[in-house]
């Protein structure tokens, strides 16, 4: 398909994705006409479901790749990671847009969505989340605008954006740090209801920390996927080198988690055999301890299969953690039961299909991916050597 300067190749798979987006749009329309009860299985016992628990909480966490690579590349100036920074920013931006759309669909009185900008409920964690996400999404669009205008000629706007970039970069790390943690703080109100293995005054730390260490893992997965899709060589040296960041952050996460559980006197609850405790043990052993071991072994982390498997474990682990907080940990106290309706599933599938389509479109039409000779060629190599030998 051609529109002007832009092209988008249609494959069978992409047509399927477009169909899913179309179905989701129809479901969204129906939801606005008939209310949430007709479309979702939500109830007074389960006011938050798939769209908030998965699309929003996991979507934002998965978009953590944007701010962690921004921190590594633009603040610490680890330039060997520069080739992946734009792809990470793109995924992150699309993730946030999806989270915002999900939120818009999920709120009952959507026509009031702008009210929190004017009626200050500053005593609410959600207030901080809302402001940070709204501004950060704008920041990402502006950062991304700087890239878009490399292709679209608009010198004056490009100059303004470029000048504002250092400020945007710092803001683009501070804001997500704040709201990633606040998404955890949201659950402080659930004291006495969220299972104590997850409820903690430290939950903001756990949320922001995991969103950060998820970043490199997410970059590894999407880098591999993109490489496979476009017949490129995966940026393995970068992926292997990034595992050092994830490894140490995982270790610290585990230590703080244990200290926190012991300090609150609930450590033994992890072994009481309840459904919650088993889910918690799976989360810790399969998705924290196992990746630590895998990342610690050079024979694993320096092979694409190894680093990819460990990264998938990390990413699934963060999703697993969020799902445990929203569903597993609350189930005992909320009563009733909830399983998403077919319409909720279709909506979610449509959202993520849109993400894939948008990613492909931008990558194929804008300078997002590094030129291959920079990543793998010898002449212009940007310091990938150390990582490769590590």
């Amino acid at each position: 398909m051609q529109f002007g300067r832009f092209s988008f190749r249609l494959t069978g798979f992409r047509k399927l994705l477009i169909l899913l987006v179309g179905i989701a749009a129809a479901v969204a329309l129906w939801r606005f006409i008939s209310g949430l009860g007709a479309v979702t299985n939500l109830s007074d016992e389960w006011p938050w479901g798939l769209w908030i628990g998965f699309d929003l909480l996991c979507g934002i966490a998965l978009a953590g790749g944007g701010f962690s690579t921004a921190l590594i590349v633009h603040v610490l100036h680890k330039d060997k990671y520069l080739p992946i920074v734009r792809a990470a920013l793109l995924t992150s931006m699309l993730g946030y847009i999806i989270a915002l759309v999900s939120l818009f669909l999920d709120i009952g009185r959507w026509f009031n969505f702008w009210r929190p900008f004017f009626y200050w409920g500053y005593h609410s964690v959600l207030f901080e989340v809302f402001w940070c996400i709204a501004i950060y999404t704008t920041v990402q669009v502006l950062e991304f605008g700087d890239i878009v205008f490399e292709k679209i000629n608009f010198p004056s706007l490009k100059r303004i954006l470029h000048g504002a970039l250092p400020f945007l970069l710092i803001l683009g790390i501070v804001l997500p740090s704040l709201h990633q943690s606040s998404l955890g703080s949201l659950y402080i109100v659930a004291v006495d209801r969220l299972y104590p293995l997850w409820w903690s005054m430290l939950i903001p730390f756990f949320f922001v920390w995991s969103a950060f260490f998820l970043g490199p893992a997410m970059v590894t997965i999407e880098g591999t996927l993109a490489a496979r899709t476009y017949g490129r060589e995966p940026e393995l040296p970068i992926f292997s080198s990034l595992t050092k960041v994830t490894l140490w952050m995982l270790v610290i996460y585990l230590i703080v988690k244990i200290i926190d559980l012991v300090y609150r006197g609930v450590f033994s609850m992890a072994f009481n055999g309840s459904f919650e405790s088993n889910m918690f043990l799976i989360e810790m052993i399969l998705f924290i301890i196992l990746p630590i071991i895998m990342y610690a072994m050079p024979s694993v982390r320096n092979k694409l299969g190894g680093v990819l498997t460990a990264s998938i474990l990390v990413v699934v682990g963060v999703v697993f953690n969020r799902v445990n907080v929203v569903f597993t940990g609350m189930a005992g106290a909320m009563g009733g039961s909830y399983f998403p309706s077919i319409w909720e599933w279709l909506m979610t599938m449509g959202m993520w299909s849109f993400l894939v389509l948008a990613y492909c479109f931008f990558v194929e039409n804008f300078p997002i991916m590094a030129k291959e000779e920079y990543v793998h060629g010898s002449g212009h190599s940007i310091g990938t050597g150390t990582g490769f030998q590590a």
Binding site: R9, F32, I33, S34, G35, L36, G37, L42, D44, P47, W48, V75, H77, L82, I107, G108, R109, W110, N112, F113, R115, Y119, W120, G121, H123, S124, V125, L126, E128, F130, E150, I170, L171, I173, V174, S177, L178, S185, L186, I188, V189, A190, V191, D192, R193, Y195, P196, P204, A226, Y230, R232, V266, M269, G335, V363, N365, P367, I368, A370, K371
Partner: protein
């Protein structure tokens, strides 16, 4: 003075007059009855049912079977979790003691319908109009309109046995302890005195509270007596410091590491992927 209601479980006969009075004063539609294996009707609070009576049949060894009836409604916390959770401040604790919803009560329609108040409420009270295209979050309003006219709430006015008593919370609390200390049989506890920072509705009972659907323990520990807003604030108050502190740290780090960074022209590095 902040108002409250003292509910004396020993005096309630389960007639549901309060339920009917609430429906008629607040003009609430009926919820369709369904067969179930409990005596409760309707089964739970909803956007149309702001108060209801729960029935409990208590069997204790060596004692006669006991019926006990517990009226449920919003507890009207002294420091409401719903108020602090709302990012448009759509719930407010009035000086009279009622926790009210501004969109329907004060015609200030800021509510976004995010339902965080429903996550936040420790008693699971606020209910959502799931069947409406433009839904509200509804719950007991302590008959705020009557309260302002110095009238007791509709449910209290309908109570035949004196199980419900309306008055100043402080006085009711004193009276509750007086009843507990002078009349034998009461459990030595006023539910709502300290739970989650205290509530305007207070309960006294002659059977243990955990037997009649009150949460006295959570995960093996007594429920917290700190108000939920104060817990949240303990974390939230660090936000401005974190914003500027973390921002400053990042700016300094960036300036510091920039010196040894090689300059790379980004526009040279990237290109669109060829997907032909």
């Amino acid at each position: 003075m902040s108002k409250g209601v003292l509910v004396d479980i020993t005096r309630c006969i389960g007639c549901r007059s309060c339920q009917v009075a609430c429906k008629s004063w607040n003009d609430l539609p009926a919820d369709k009855s369904e067969f179930s294996n409990s005596w409760d009707n309707p089964e739970k609070l909803s956007a149309n049912t702001w108060t209801k009576v729960n029935y409990y049949l208590i069997e204790e060894e060596g004692q006669k079977l006991k019926w006990r009836f517990v009226k449920r409604q919003c507890m009207h916390c002294l420091e409401p979790a719903c108020e602090s959770a709302c990012f448009t401040h759509s719930f407010v604790k009035t000086k009279e003691g009622a926790v009210i919803y501004k969109p329907t009560e004060l015609n200030k329609d800021y509510c976004v319908g995010c339902r965080y108040c429903m996550i936040a409420c420790p008693f699971g009270v606020p209910s959502f109009q799931w069947d409406k295209a433009f839904p509200y979050v509804l719950k007991c309003r302590f008959c705020y309109d009557r309260m302002k006219e110095d009238m007791e709430p509709a449910c209290v006015s309908a109570c035949l046995t004196g199980a419900l008593k309306y008055g100043d919370r402080d006085e009711l609390l004193a009276e509750a302890w007086e009843r507990i200390n002078t009349i034998p049989g009461y459990v030595k506890h006023v539910y709502g005195e300290k739970e989650y920072g205290g509530t305007s509705w207070l309960y006294i009972s002659d059977v243990p509270f955990d037997k009649i659907g009150f949460r006295t323990e959570a995960f093996g520990k007594p429920v917290t007596t700190r108000s939920i807003p104060s817990l949240t604030w303990d974390v939230l108050k660090w936000t401005p410091a974190l914003f500027f502190g973390w921002g400053a740290v990042l700016t300094i780090m960036r300036a510091y590491t920039k010196r040894r960074a090689e300059h790379i022209e980004e526009s040279e590095l990237f290109e669109p992927v060829d997907n032909k």
